[in-house]
């Protein structure tokens, strides 16, 4: 079996274990060891052994095995974890680190582990306080015939050359960093508010400089959290290929933009929705070869997954050249399932019709296959994307194919919002949920049935009062109605507010109970002036 694809993972996972081993040895020695820590030590050595054996690194496996055995004796209370054991284990961990570095550097070095293995196997605790005076004590050994890990490094003085360029950092440290940065940005806005009130030029200058530095800090902190799209994209060719084979379709699958980097939190969250969209594309989007031939299309269907950067967003697109979707059919099906009223159906544009596929309970699949029958539906896909602070749009042309477009922020915790005022309450709307802001002249509003509508991009969009939806008194008094265009249940609508306050970056804080369970609230934030605002989860507000 060709093990080379697993090499990098072996190296990184082994190093993780070794770091844990070193930390645990020290901890157990200092705190007279909890059972839990000793178990963890044993497991780490055990895992290392298993991996090394799989890779065919006999000596690493052997040394780990002996460390594991020694730990097992400690666990079984045949031995007491004393300083002698700690020294031996640390020596072993150091030697293992050297050997793994050899693997990483593709150095074919011979490391003599025999002596250390001997001492691990034969370890006896030093007797009495004079311990080392005991001539037969194996743990003492003869210094001259023992190579320390440092000695083994001769000829490789630049071992740290590569290693010192990178460090491994726990993800929670990164999360703390971004949290602190977020708090700093909130505080900056506070300072700016104070500055405005004081009209002090030196203070203004200082806050401008602070803003610049914070922006740099924010960028750097974000960079640390970024990992390439390939981290998840590399698994998709396999998913597509296997499914295509299963359903008897021929697919050419392309992935572009593997090097595009995204916040790891977002990237991890994207895996399931993308898998689902790709499966849908193979299962429902593409036609069977016969059908394609009949339409004069190439027998091979094409599916393309592409990621690209657009300003402070990442756009991920899945497109296929399959049968596409028929808006009329989608609308008819939604009406039949009573998901929309016939009247609303008549008013729907094609792009709204495509979004119907994301309403819970909607599925046009003629039969439930074992592919689409399992796991998440498009409604879950969409809500996952929204939870990540992104949005989904669908384009499709009958007979030509469909395109699913995911727009995602580069980071989760700090987002751009449109601040609006309703009655006396300020509310934050994520910019990703705002397609456009409009100040609408009242005479451009007209009625269709019972619904007030206005024309926007050639479509008649319903007008809804956000005040009314949220149960706040409304006072839309002026000549111009401030509103923003957003999407509700697959339909574009104009949501009227009392006043636009402006656009701002805010640091999102999750809500505690019971607020967290309220529909339509996506978090909270503190503004620069100390005011607390809720972040509106537009898609779920109705």
């Amino acid at each position: 079996m060709d093990m080379s694809p697993y090499r990098d993972l072996f190296i990184s996972e082994s190093r993780e274990h070794l770091r844990a081993v070193s930390e645990l040895i020290v901890k157990v020695e200092q705190e007279a060891g909890s059972r839990k820590d000793m178990d963890a030590l044993f497991r780490a050595a055990h895992s290392l052994k298993g991996m090394a054996a799989s890779m065919g690194y006999g000596e690493i496996a052997e040394l780990s095995h002996r460390i594991e055995d020694l730990m097992d004796r400690v666990r079984k209370e045949e031995l007491v974890f004393d300083a002698g054991i700690a020294d031996l284990l640390l020596e072993g961990a150091d030697l293992l680190e050297v050997m793994i570095t050899d693997v990483a550097n593709e150095v074919q070095a011979v490391r003599d582990i025999g002596d250390l293995v001997q001492r691990l196997v034969a370890y006896r605790p030093a007797t009495g306080t004079a311990g080392t005076a005991d001539g037969g004590d194996v743990a003492g050994g003869a210094p001259s015939d023992r190579q320390s890990p440092a000695d083994l490094l001769h000829g490789e003085p630049d071992r740290h050359g590569d290693a010192s360029q990178t460090v491994r950092v726990r993800t929670e440290v990164l999360d703390h960093l971004i949290n602190i940065t977020g708090e700093l940005i909130t505080n900056k806005h506070r300072l700016m508010t104070v500055g405005k009130e004081l009209a002090s030029q030196p203070l203004d200058e200082a806050t401008v400089e602070l803003s610049r530095l914070l922006r740099d800090l924010h960028t750097e902190v974000l960079l640390v959290r970024l990992i390439p799209f390939s981290t998840i994209a590399d698994r998709f060719p396999r998913v597509v290929r296997d499914l295509a084979k299963k359903v008897g379709k021929e697919v050419v699958f392309e992935v572009d933009g593997k090097g595009i980097e995204l916040d790891r939190g977002i990237l991890e969250g994207l895996s399931d929705p993308l898998t689902h969209i790709l499966r849908n594309a193979v299962d429902h989007g593409l036609e069977l070869p016969d059908e394609r031939r009949a339409c004069g299309k190439p027998l091979h269907g094409r599916i393309r997954l592409a990621a690209r950067r657009e300003k402070d967003q990442v756009v991920v697109v899945v497109e296929d050249d399959g049968r596409g979707m028929d808006p009329a059919l989608l609308i008819a099906s939604a009406i039949e399932k009573r998901l929309v009223s016939p009247e609303a159906g008549r008013l729907m544009s094609a792009r709204e019709a495509f979004m119907l596929t994301c309403i819970p309970g909607f599925s046009t699949a003629r039969e439930v296959t074992d592919v689409s029958g399992r796991g998440v539906g498009m409604d879950a896909v969409r809500s996952t994307i929204q939870t990540l602070g992104g949005n989904l749009t669908i384009e499709s042309e009958l007979g030509k194919g469909s395109r699913f477009i995911l727009r995602l922020p580069l980071t989760i915790a700090i987002i751009n919002v449109l601040l609006v005022r309703l009655a006396r309450v300020a509310l934050a709307i994520p910019i990703t949920s705002v397609q456009r802001t409009v100040e609408l002249r009242r005479d451009l509003i007209y009625s269709r049935g019972k619904q007030k509508v206005f024309d926007f991009d050639g479509e008649a969009l319903p007008l809804l009062s956000l005040n009314r939806i949220l149960g706040l008194p409304h006072s839309h008094a002026g000549e111009l109605l401030p509103l923003f265009v957003s999407e509700l249940k697959g339909r574009r609508v104009g949501l009227v507010v009392d006043e636009f306050i402006g656009q701002q970056e805010i640091f999102v804080k999750p809500l505690g109970r019971p607020l967290a369970s309220m529909k339509g609230l996506g978090g909270g934030a503190v503004l620069g002036n100390g005011e607390v605002v809720f972040i509106l989860d537009v898609a779920n507000v109705l």
Binding site: M1, P5, Y6, L9, F10, E13, D39, A40, F42, R43, H46, S47, K49, G50, M51, A53, S54, R238, D242, K246, D370, R374
Partner: protein, 121 residues
């Protein structure tokens, strides 16, 4: 064709390797779990045809997880993955209702053979 498999191992390396071997045989890996507790949860959610279960894991070990899974589903087919020299654990696993055993380090041939056998049963 298309038997579903749940992989349980605390090592990503091991999971990836098993995934490589099993996907090559046309099995569908429906989920992966990183410890015994995760395994029980994923089992309940996915009801896989076959589960491969590492024994030495944090939080809850493979044998405890196996017991809980068998309570959930008396017909659960769970193949234990153990290292050489864990005979006592193998016995315990057997008593807890393990279908079969794979010895680590994985021999792809042996893995294929065992999964094929238990899947056919």
């Amino acid at each position: 064709m298309g038997l579903t498999v749940l992989l349980v191992d605390d090592s990503l390396f091991m999971r990836n390797m098993l995934r490589g071997i099993l996907e090559g045989e046309g099995y569908e890996i429906v989920a992966e779990a990183v410890d015994g507790m995760d395994a029980v949860r994923k089992y309940r959610e996915f009801r896989p045809d076959v589960t491969t279960m590492d024994i030495v894991m944090p939080v809850k070990n493979g044998i405890e997880a196996l017991r809980e899974i068998r309570i959930l589903d008396a017909k659960a087919c769970v193949v234990m993955c153990s290292a050489v020299g864990q005979e006592s654990l193998v016995n315990a696993a057997h008593e807890a209702g393990a279908c079969d055993f794979i010895i680590k380090p994985f021999n792809p041939e042996r893995v294929r053979e065992v999964i094929k056998r238990v899947a056919g049963a």
